[in-house]
Amino acid sequence: MNLEFTPEENAFRDEVRAFIEENYPTDLPKRGLADDMSREQFLKWHKILGKKGWSTPAWPEEYGGTGWTPTQRYIWQEENARVNAVMPLPFGVGMVGPVIYTFGNEEQKAKHLPGIRSGEIWWCQGYSEPGAGSDLASLKTTAVRDGDDYILNGQKTWTTLAQHADWGFFLCRTDPTAERPQQGISFILVDMKTPGIEVRPIKLIDGGYEVNEVWLTDVRVPAENLIGEENKGWTYAKFLLAHERSGIAGVARSKRALENLREIADAEMMDGAPLSEDFDFARKLSQLEIDLAALEITELRTLAGEQAGKGPGPESSILKVKGTEIQQRLTELTVEAVGTYGLPDFRSFEDNLANDNAPGPDYATHAAPHYFNFRKASIYGGSNEIQRNIITKMVLGL
């Protein structure tokens, strides 16, 4: 048992750090809400990494993975968090990509994987529906076979950044008569330019447009876009959700956010002294740092298990629950730290996306919107209550 990195791992860290320093586009926003950024900004680092062959590290090498060990991937995440990098979005790289190379046929792999790696093709996720949230298997969007096509009808919602999407992966009901709702679902890839698709933005609590409704009216999709077998989509969907969870702890990013918060607490004054010297506030910072350290070691234990050939099991639900709780507490404490200057709505400033016009300190501008926005974290990716159900069933055996 030890926490040391090997000389090879340290050399790897030096290598990726040097690459990031040399190649990371410094003109990208350091932080911000989703609609702060254009499609091109979102994809800029992804495309650079695609050229380098580093955009899909966790994939098997035959599909363009880097062959890095879990520890190396952890180092990679840490080094990117150091510069607050705008990372490749998860929908292609972390979600549909693994489904395609695991369950797709050769044509599907050849057609879709290169665009995911390069960052040319933007994917979105058609899972949730207005009536199917935590009970995802109750989804109602239908796909009816018609010759060589499926005809899709229904409504998806909470579709993140679908406004930029080229393709989407959709869960649709192909057998409404199946005994259990899970049994009649198929996993279908859809070109978002297909007639009959309408993307309607949803204005979120922070005033931003990050998620959408996707309406499907007689959308004709070639049957060759079906992944795996018809009516087996639930298996692929669950596989994908397990994949989604393993990266969700966000330890490296939260460490960086905690450093930022400590800087804010040094700058803010309270009763004539820095807020960071107020014991009540300092204690909250310490508690966060402690909880984050526990999460980090738990993640490292999971990684070490993966390295030894044990896949991320249902224990990764811990990473989701604790990781998102910490992310939310960070945003909450930041609102507390900035005090009154949490109030001005940055969207109402002239040239509203620039920090230069903020009436208060720059770091205060996004504090409240972030806090409001991040309530999503304990809801998405399988709500934290669903994660507890998973732990109950899969770990505790109840």
């Binding site: 520890t71 310490s286 999460l295 234990r301 732990i391 505790l396």
Partner: protein, 380 residues
């Protein structure tokens, strides 16, 4: 970076697990803690025989060649069985003081006896008004010829009724809370002038108030440098914290397993209460608290070799987090058991008591959060 145990460590775990399973059933433990002496010297002898008492010492010091990870393995298993025998006072604390600060002569005499079990030590560090401050010392040692004369009162000395010897912290100079002037002495418990008031602790162990009245010790009783031993004491306290954290993890694991098991047996409203989501989610939370505790226990164990300030910071992080988790798991286990959980007859109430009291040894969660705040400031 890995979290695997070596073959030797796994062997220690298996050996000790078997011994605890066979020799330390809940019923046996109940009889032992209700007995006059409150412990079993023969169990201690078995630990010595199996090499458990020597595991954390180097071969040079007469040990098995292990270190903090061996202590972690041992403490997890002792925690699972709520073992009352004084591994932390005698092996971790006294053994640690001698290992890090003792002269060769002192090691030859005392360390060997700790390892073979013939001498049992207790660690007399706390004082009635000192709370968790290791530098708060009203006990004084005054130079007297070649030796010293000790006067003072040591509080809640765990395992002292079973001990033949004490490691005593005393002030050789300075004011009550000064960092300079802290000295460490080896004192035979039958030395003239020592009196004790022995009692049981609420978690099934024994402890004493120890009074020193003009207790004369020789110059060879001093461990390390006169007046310069606070660092040594703090190091050993952090090692004791790591051991307590591992013990807590062992106890939490069993408390969680017992709770899950109970909810499968216990029926209300015609179904096992394990079917109720409100209890399922509580047990999922208990599981997560346990896993986070294991992580913190590993973290402090692997950081014990860091420079003092770093080590202390990690010790505080682990002790604070595990104090909170122990409280959460203990309280929720008892709540889930219902009325039977607040009786003496079920094991869960005893796990709850031990988990609670672990928080009150070597600094509770509040104390360590405060120390973490202070250490974070120094670093900045």
């Amino acid at each position: 970076m890995h979290f695997d145990f070596t073959e030797e460590q796994t062997m220690i775990r298996d050996t000790l697990a078997r011994l605890v399973r066979e020799e330390y059933t809940f019923e046996t433990r109940h009889k032992v803690i209700e007995s006059d002496s409150g412990w079993r010297p023969e169990f201690w002898a078995q630990l010595a025989e199996l090499g458990i008492l020597s595991a954390p010492f180097s071969e040079e010091d007469g040990g098995f060649g292990g270190g903090p990870v061996e202590t972690l393995v041992i403490m997890e298993e002792l925690g699972k069985g709520l073992v009352v025998e004084p591994f932390i006072p005698s092996v971790v604390c006294a053994g640690g003081i001698l290992k890090h600060g003792g002269s060769q002569v002192q090691k030859d005499e005392h360390l060997a006896a700790i390892i073979d079990g013939s001498r049992v030590f207790a660690f007399a560090h706390a004082e009635p008004r000192g709370r968790y401050d290791m530098a708060f010392l009203e006990t004084r040692a005054k130079a007297d010829g070649d030796g010293y004369v000790l006067n003072g009162h040591k509080a809640v000395v765990i395992g002292a009724p079973w001990a033949s010897h004490l490691i005593v912290t005393a002030r050789t100079s300075g004011e009550v809370v000064d960092h300079d002037g802290v000295s460490v002495f080896i004192v035979s418990k039958d030395a003239e002038g020592i009196s004790t008031r022995d009692y049981a602790t609420v978690d099934g162990r024994r402890a004493s108030e120890v009074y020193f009245e003009n207790v004369k010790v020789g110059g060879d009783a001093l461990v390390g440098e006169e007046g310069g031993s606070l660092g040594l004491v703090m190091q050993v306290a952090d090692e004791a914290i790591a051991a307590l954290c591992a013990e807590a993890c062992g106890a939490m694991q069993v408390a969680n397993a017992m709770t899950i098991d109970y909810t499968k047996q216990r029926k209300q409203f015609g179904v096992p209460i394990a079917k109720f989501q409100v209890l399922q989610h509580r047990m999922a939370d208990m599981f997560m608290e346990y896993e986070q505790s294991v992580s913190m226990s590993y973290l402090i164990t692997l950081k014990l070799g860091e420079p003092a300030a770093e080590r202390a910071k990690y010790a505080s992080m682990a002790k604070a987090r595990i104090g909170q988790a122990g409280r959460f798991i203990g309280q929720n286990a008892v709540q889930t058991f219902g009325g039977i959980g607040v009786t003496d007859e079920v094991a869960i109430s005893h796990y709850f008591k031990r988990l609670t009291m672990i928080d009150s040894e070597f600094g509770d969660a509040g104390h360590h959060l405060k120390r973490h705040v202070a250490l974070s400031r120094k670093a900045a």
